[in-house]
Symmetry: C2
Subunit: 386 residues, 2 copies
């Protein structure tokens, strides 16, 4: 396989962008990315998106983005894996370039969510779950996660307060990220007193939706050998995806993210690395329970012990394994189909040393993990500064 | 690039399958394909689909199909390019295997359309067009094609009746395809008297929707060297995709499918072939005007002369370039996200010599072309019997 380098990144602040249409959001991210990469064309474009058909009555985003950004005639498709669509688009882009079928590709994540009503968005998000065997019985997406969190607390004996550090860490890091939606710290007291959404998940356990777009530009690393740029070369050392049952109740163990374990293991193997060598981890903290399950499935904590890792401060910016270093889904915001590419952009920013007060010291190897549904699709990427 | 072979095909008859859910439709096609390939697992699954979120309230089809078919943990994503989603899924599967990231892949197209009302389906299909600059002004998908057909007739001086052979050919071929939705011949008189849909497109210019699923199993051709099977080896010799403006009115020339020209030219180049060497062509006859434009853009007819080719009988099964040999979209039916894979399955059937009364003589090289929107995404594949 050709080794792949990321030579450009771009993003739009996660926010309510009522003045920007779907194509304008994606366009902003693409223009920044092309400028950052110093390119004016791309052979292919893969657009990560989940909700455009339902919320914006627009499918066919490949052609939409190619057309709007002036990258006319480029091969372009939409890739969908629920909330994992962004990383899925990068994974497909990587395979496209690695195959030699194209020599450069843009992976773009875009989602426009805030112009619709809450019930419309909730119903659209529920299409990530099993329509026939979960949603048909009245389960919303947050309700499924609430059942999992309840089970985790019961099984391992944790109180709700044990999850506070995940949200506190995300919020304190977001303060320094101009692209984050919620740029304010929260206290443990605020966490405990937040309004309940679906017991035991309260408002500060849950990530906010938002409008947003993020993109990266990739090329074969060997095409850059003599470029002489001062900027460090960022390569993708590991890339893998795996699936699990769509419905959580079909899993032998609802507290084990087997697709996270599988995709992380494959990515470690490709990269020739162990969890100890990962300097920081942009995980999929759509709900605080997902942070705990991800850390455990990826080998960073024993089962049932992720809250301990958090309480010991190891997930904070100067801890052993900083997570959500730019705010994570929790505070940067979760424009679902774009999230996976925000994560990749943030890993690249860390590896380039551009993160100011939340810069991870000597960041050389970063991991990102994007989750579709309640763990049904999980995609892991490991990036390295060379 | 690793050369890719298709070792298994499977399909479900295009019909109103009210007793089959989305996963059951896809599952049927996958089970037939695995059996045909003699395999019981696949490293990756790429699902071509356009409408599941809007019409079935189910996204996340990668995991849905992997889960339902027992191909647990396989990497799996949905790929969308409007009505071109099926071939887009094959194109992504091909790149996945060619890159070496996976050693086998299923490309599955599935669409479930007939349980919703006409207006719901029409609105969902309109998301293939430009929501802001076409649909917002009241244009449905068929209306866009009607404007293009009107322009073609005006510009080249053809009467509506000149398009009759396209529909007559599709219908007569479908009679012998047990998977086709409309298995009945039509006469020229019936064609001319059919009920108007959007002037000049009448009911017999337009393909019917339907529920359906089709799939293929691909592996690197060199992995089969010593398999000793009696069945001929079918390889993908050319594969390319291109885009055009999403809105037809943005094109310099609305009568020229530049994305068809570009993707076909790239595919010919990869295969080292010219249009003369193509034995038959499964084109995207969603509307009869699209047959004409495709034939011209791909080099089979001079501009404005495709109806002549049809009138001369060259598109019929024993003509110079048989098209729609199993009924095409017009008579096999057009379950949109699945169509591109029905086309590939049909090309393989021809190359294997399994088509009985509509078998193309000495079929050795077949081409398939799948179109998303009104020519905004076009994907071309050239297959060969070795």
């Amino acid at each position: 396989m050709r080794k792949i380098a990321i030579i450009g990144i771009g993003q739009v602040p996660v926010d309510e962008h009522w003045h920007l249409s779907l194509r304008e959001l994606a366009g902003e991210a693409v223009f920044h990315t092309l400028q950052d990469a110093g390119r004016d064309s791309a052979d292919a474009i893969f657009v990560g998106n989940m909700l455009s058909g339902m919320l914006s009555r627009q499918e066919h985003l490949g052609s939409l983005v190619a057309d709007w950004t002036g990258l006319k005639h480029a091969e372009a498709f939409k890739v969908e894996a629920a909330c994992g669509s962004g990383a899925a688009a990068l994974r497909v882009a990587l395979m496209a370039v690695a195959s030699g079928e194209v020599d450069s590709a843009l992976a773009v994540g875009v989602e426009k969510m805030t112009e619709r009503t809450g019930p419309e968005v909730t119903a659209a998000l529920a299409t990530a779950a099993d329509a026939d065997y979960e949603v048909a019985y009245g389960l919303s997406f947050v309700a499924i996660n609430a059942l999992v969190m309840q089970r985790y607390m019961h099984h391992y004996g944790w109180e709700h307060a044990a999850f506070a550090p995940f949200s506190i860490n995300a919020h304190v890091n977001a303060v320094h990220n101009p692209y984050a939606r919620l740029r304010e710290s929260i206290t443990e007291k605020e966490y405990q007193r937040a309004r309940m959404v679906a017991d035991p998940i309260n408002l500060l356990d849950a990530s906010p939706i938002g409008d947003g777009a993020a993109a990266v530009f990739i090329v074969p690393a060997d095409s850059l050998k003599h470029n002489g740029k001062a900027r460090p070369l960022i390569t993708i050392e590991g890339s893998a995806a795996a699936t699990d049952t769509l419905a959580v109740h079909d899993r032998r163990d609802p507290l084990w993210l087997s697709a996270a374990h599988r995709s992380a293991s494959l990515a470690y193997q490709q990269a020739g690395l162990t969890p100890r060598e990962i300097d920081f981890f942009e995980l999929h903290d759509a709900f605080s329970i997902m942070s705990a399950l991800s850390l455990e499935a990826c080998g960073f904590a024993e089962r049932g012990q992720a809250p301990r890792l958090a309480q010991d401060g190891e997930i904070f910016i100067h801890g052993k394994l900083p997570i959500s270093t730019r705010g994570g889904l929790k505070a940067r915001g979760h424009p679902v189909g774009a999230t996976g590419l925000y994560q990749i952009v943030e890993v690249v920013q860390q590896l380039r040393g551009e993160c100011g007060p939340t810069q991870v010291r000597d960041a050389r190897i970063g991991m990102a993990q994007n989750i579709g549904g309640s763990g049904a699709t999980i995609i892991t990427h490991i990036l390295k500064r060379n």
